[in-house]
Symmetry: C2
Subunit: 262 residues, 2 copies
């Protein structure tokens, strides 16, 4: 098993991934992102209601919807846009613009999502303390990473428009780090969502949560199954997204297999 | 920004990553894996105790310890072994052997971890239903993926010993899928652990959980902070591990950058 190069002609280079599997995975990811938004809306509209500060207990329910819309849907779409447009669009400006717009749309949702949960804690009597639970710790780390990623990405995008050539090497080195950190941030959003759903299911369904499979026809049974199904969709996204995102633009990075990877 | 190949001589090929950053990240991951095991043991030994079937409420506490030892520690070590030995060891047999042994050691821990939680539900009076919570759903998916990964990896390892050359291409194509799925399984283990810690903190600390930052000197305050710190270590692992694992053996896969990735 020497490290002998088998064929050095560029024609023998193998692109890392076929495109068919990319589009299949892309479609699956799109369906799952839409399913997550649909299920969180269905849960809140069927079993609870949206409210503003006059009703802090119901104001809470804007929190999971806004966070899933911001950190899962828009952030997920932003990452999918980047990878899919790489295949069809020649100019990187448009790819980066679409990627930036998706993440930009996530910001108001995340900020409002944070405000609604803080309101729903502080405006109650007695108030509920903030940032004590593991869910809130995961959430804080996730939002901090999202903010860092947005700052780095946006600065790099502006720099790219102003002084492209001088900073090209530095920005190229940043791309894989930004990509990996983006996927990590997305997966931490899923950790935050699943721990938040767990918290809320125990608080809001109480002892009935443990009977959702025994009495699935009860009100608590249906609500528990809807919340668990939302969680199941998020688990499926955690499996599918890393496979979509590891597929690179074939003509951009040609990989030559120099040895059998057995 | 054409897709022009800049330099086709093998000397101009750039290995994907420098090695210094790999060893720094590797060390950080090792410290975090040890910290996770230490914290889960400290939590159980300081605030609870281990028991067998005569005391199902305390038998439960073997579950988080065994699952973190199996799905986080041994599975994490298995992945780290693969990446680190790739750099030092020439023969892939030894790399694969170390990788397989680590995952093999995880199996009894995972099986016992599953038995202890089922026992602690079923041997109580009244029994607690199984597999109703989102945590248990994430756990089931994680264990299924672990089993699938082990079966695929082990079969491929045996095939590699018996009929190496005939199946080389197929097994080489499997490597990146097995790698991505391995990382996904590890990250789902973290989702399962954090949702499980969330569940247990609410059930076992009750209303005191929300006061852990207000009264950190209380018994519930200390236990809550230990549980949240264990969660924080797992979040850090979810950030560090994807960066360690994306670093490939430089001499095995040479990447030529054919265009600026700005």
């Amino acid at each position: 098993m020497g490290s002998q190069v088998k064929d050095r002609t560029p024609e023998a280079w193998k692109a890392p991934e076929p495109r068919t599997s990319f589009w299949l995975l892309f479609t699956a990811a799109q369906i799952l992102l839409l399913a997550a938004v649909t299920l969180v809306l269905f849960w809140v509209l069927k079993f609870h209601k949206f409210a503003w500060r006059e009703d802090p207990a119901n104001e809470f329910y804007a929190h999971p919807v806004l966070m899933i819309v911001g950190l899962i849907f828009f952030a997920g779409e932003g990452m999918l846009m980047y990878r899919s447009l790489e295949i069809c669009v020649k100019h990187r400006f448009y790819i980066k613009l679409a990627h930036t717009i998706c993440h930009f749309l996530a910001i108001p949702a995340i900020v409002m999502g944070l405000i609604t949960v803080l309101d729903s804690h502080q405006l109650r009597f007695p108030p509920i303390p903030d940032f004590y639970s593991l869910h809130s710790w995961v959430g804080l780390v996730t939002i901090s990473l999202f903010a860092l990623q947005f700052a780095v990405g946006f600065t790099s995008f502006i720099v790219f428009l102003c002084c492209d050539t001088n900073t090209a090497a530095f920005r190229a080195a940043l791309v894989p780090i930004h990509g990996t950190m983006g996927l990590v941030t997305f997966l931490l959003s899923i950790v935050a969502a699943i721990s938040g759903l767990t918290e809320k299911a125990i608080f809001s369904l109480g002892k009935d949560y443990s009977t959702i499979l025994l009495r699935p026809e009860s009100r608590a049974g249906i609500e528990g199954l809807v919340m668990n199904s939302l969680g199941a969709v998020l688990i499926a996204l955690a499996i599918v997204m890393p496979f979509v995102l590891r597929q690179r633009r074939p003509q951009y990075q040609l990989v030559q297999v120099v040895e059998n990877q057995n």
